[in-house]
């Protein structure tokens, strides 16, 4: 029975992995890119200067700006700049025209040093990858459901993989290079075992993030269907005083930052909300920065009276269950990560992507061997091959196209950010057609070579279209801009190597047909 059990688990591993593999590959690759979403956004909006200014100074500028431009607003929201997100953004909400309606929001980005408005080119930046990896460009809530289902399948795939793979540590030390199918399997096992805790954490935490959406039964049962009451319990809102109706002069808010830090024993403020700024009962809610610690707690905030500066309330400590859920959330998002840890996240994310990619290649390779002698491949194998090519090399070409569109589309174009996204999907769609038209190996080589060219040329394109190229960013030590260019260059070289490997292994006779190298491609597909 024991052997039968393992075989059943291997069957489950094989088929769940195949059916969801392509979707999971795209989710993991874009999710990995999202770890650098602020850096990507910065590169895609180079007009917005990166400056290190103290929070106090930028808050004072934001307060001046809002007092001049939106004195009568019902609410101000100020997002302070951080090391990764250089922009100072202010938003304000008008008093609603009618009772019960939502007032209109206006958003402006300010230069944190001078307080003047800055206008970046219209783009979704790194936010696009972040949103795509759990919404899949689908209307709410379908994309979230589909990606959560994919996460559950990934979870099953990981556990069945562990069960199937009996000699987990012994096999880990066997890597047989240049053995075709065996090397792929060894690589799949190694990359799976090596970062197994990461695979498990990232997969399970994605389920925890959307648990109240996909598993609401217990909320409905114990709150008698009142979902809002549950969220009020989990995220206690700061109580905000009512409008006094008398005008009041808002005190300078910068000193409040220091007092919030005392409350949180050193924690940073990310966002300030000022309610009824012109009123005697104005209140200021300071929300703690998520980058402060691993455990994520969206509602961690302190509230002050805006006129007198008196401390009104501060949210209580999270209970244990919420702290556990919050730490899964925080671990998944990695907002707390320092640059080194962020790179580790990125590399581990690529390892997960490679795990999925190698699995897909192995599935096809095993079955192709049987048909190596015949000229035509059965339809289902050809389908898998086309989907493998388009979902792996095609996706990397599409990512490069997204960056190219950012630099090539005219800055004043209408719906510019939509067209960037469109170019991503158009190129991805074209890669499917290309994979259908060309033979398997040629399609791999050509798409990898194209991706390699596009990535290698990103620094050049940047130099031709903007003044923020490596020649100026490197001497200035602007590592955010220079890092992006360099990462693209390295990815491009890696893809070129992959294309070359693929080309060469194609010249070896049919016995080693399936020695494509997409594993390397996703490893460096920034």
């Amino acid at each position: 029975m024991k052997d039968g059990f393992r075989q059943a688990m291997a069957w489950l591993h094989t088929w769940t992995g195949l059916i969801f593999g392509w979707l999971l590959f795209a989710i993991f690759l874009t999710g990995t890119l999202a770890y650098f979403k602020d850096e990507i956004s910065h590169w895609m909006q180079p007009e917005i200067p990166a400056r290190s200014v103290s929070s106090e100074a930028s808050l004072a500028l934001a307060q001046d700006y809002l007092q001049q431009h939106a004195p009568g607003a019902s609410r101000w929201l100020i997002d302070l700049p951080s090391a990764r997100e250089p922009g100072l953004s202010v938003r304000w909400q008008q008093l609603p025209a009618k009772q019960g309606e939502r007032g209109q929001f206006t958003e402006k980005r300010l230069d944190p040093q001078t307080g003047t408005e800055v206008q970046g080119r219209e783009t979704r930046g790194g936010e696009f990858f972040y949103r795509f990896h759990f919404q899949l460009q689908m209307p709410y809530p379908w994309g979230r459901w589909l990606s959560t289902i994919a996460a559950m399948v990934m979870f099953i795939g990981l556990i069945t993989g562990i069960i199937t793979h009996k000699k987990i540590f012994k096999d880990f030390f066997t890597f047989r290079p240049r053995k075709g199918q065996r090397s792929w399997l060894d690589g799949h096992n190694a990359v799976g075992v090596l970062v197994l805790p990461f695979h498990l954490m990232i997969t399970y935490s994605s389920l925890v993030i959307f648990m109240s959406m996909v598993m609401p039964a217990s909320i409905l049962a114990s709150y008698k269907g009142d979902v809002r009451a549950f969220f009020d319990d989990v995220f206690p809102a700061s109580s905000v005083p009512e409008l006094a109706g008398k005008p009041g002069q808002l005190a300078p808010m910068a000193p409040l930052l220091e007092r919030a830090r005392e409350q949180w024993s050193g924690g940073r403020v990310q966002r300030l909300t000022v309610n009824n700024p012109g009123d005697a009962n104005a209140s200021v809610v300071l929300v703690r920065d998520g980058a402060d610690r691993v455990v994520h707690d969206v509602s961690s905030a302190v509230t002050f009276n805006g006129v007198t500066g008196q401390l009104l309330s501060s949210t209580p400590q999270q209970p244990v269950a919420m702290a556990i859920a919050g730490s899964f959330y925080g671990l998944h998002m990695g907002r707390f990560a320092s640059p080194v840890v962020r790179w580790l996240y990125f590399i581990f994310g690529l390892a997960s992507t490679a795990l999925i990619g190698t699995g897909l290649v192995i599935w096809l390779g095993k079955r192709q061997l049987k048909h190596a002698k015949s000229a035509v491949m059965p339809f289902e194998l050809r389908l898998v091959e086309v989907l493998n090519i388009a979902s792996m090399s095609g996706l990397t070409v599409a990512v490069a196209a997204f960056f190219w569109a950012n630099r090539l589309l005219p800055v004043e174009m209408t719906n510019r950010s939509d067209w960037e996204v469109n170019s991503f999907f158009i190129v991805w769609g074209l890669s499917v057609i290309h994979a259908m038209v060309r033979r398997g190996r040629s399609a791999w080589v050509e798409q990898l070579a194209l991706a390699a060219f596009l990535f290698c040329a990103v620094p050049l394109l940047n130099a031709l279209t903007t003044p923020y190229h490596l020649g100026t960013t490197l001497p200035q030590g602007d590592w955010m801009m220079a890092g992006f260019d360099l990462a693209c260059l390295v990815s491009g070289l890696f893809l070129a190597w992959a294309a070359w490997k693929m080309q060469r292994s194609g010249q070896v006779p049919v016995a080693t047909r399936q020695r494509a190298k997409p594993i390397t491609l996703e490893r460096e597909a920034n």
């Binding site: 059990f5 075989q7 059943a8 688990m9 069957w11 489950l12 559950m152 979870f155 099953i156 556990i159 069945t160 399970y204 389920l207 925890v208 648990m211 109240s212 598993m215 039964a217 217990s218 909320i219 049962a221 114990s222 709150y223 549950f230 319990d233 989990v234 209970p319 244990v320 269950a321 919420m322 556990i324 859920a325 899964f328």
Partner: protein, 101 residues
């Protein structure tokens, strides 16, 4: 499940489909009921019990899916999700009734 893809009998295909349904639908029902009964029985404040129940439910789902493919027949797969569902539903029902009275 050792049979190769070529020329599979219809009965085998139906059995696999049945297992898949048992795993996806039955597994979800077991997981959801497990989260409800945990929420009802855990000696914790309500919101914490709900969060704990939801977090645990995915592990229950995982086990249910593994069972559906590990057992000997599709009938056993269904039995393996229906019996726990019944027990968990009864447990939640009792807790609900105790809470009402």
């Amino acid at each position: 499940m050792k049979v190769k893809t070529r020329s599979l009998p219809v009965s085998y295909r139906l059995a696999v489909t049945s297992r898949v349904l048992a795993a996806v639908v039955g597994g979800y029902v077991v997981a959801a009921l497990a989260s409800v009964s945990l929420t009802m029985w855990l000696p914790m404040p309500r919101a914490e019990a709900v969060v704990t129940g939801m977090m645990t439910s995915f592990l229950v789902y995982l086990c249910a899916v593994l069972w559906c493919f590990a057992c000997r027949s599709a009938w056993q797969a269904w039995l393996g999700v229906i019996v726990p569902s019944g027990v968990l539903a009864a447990l939640s029902g009792v807790a609900y009734w105790l809470g009402q009275s």
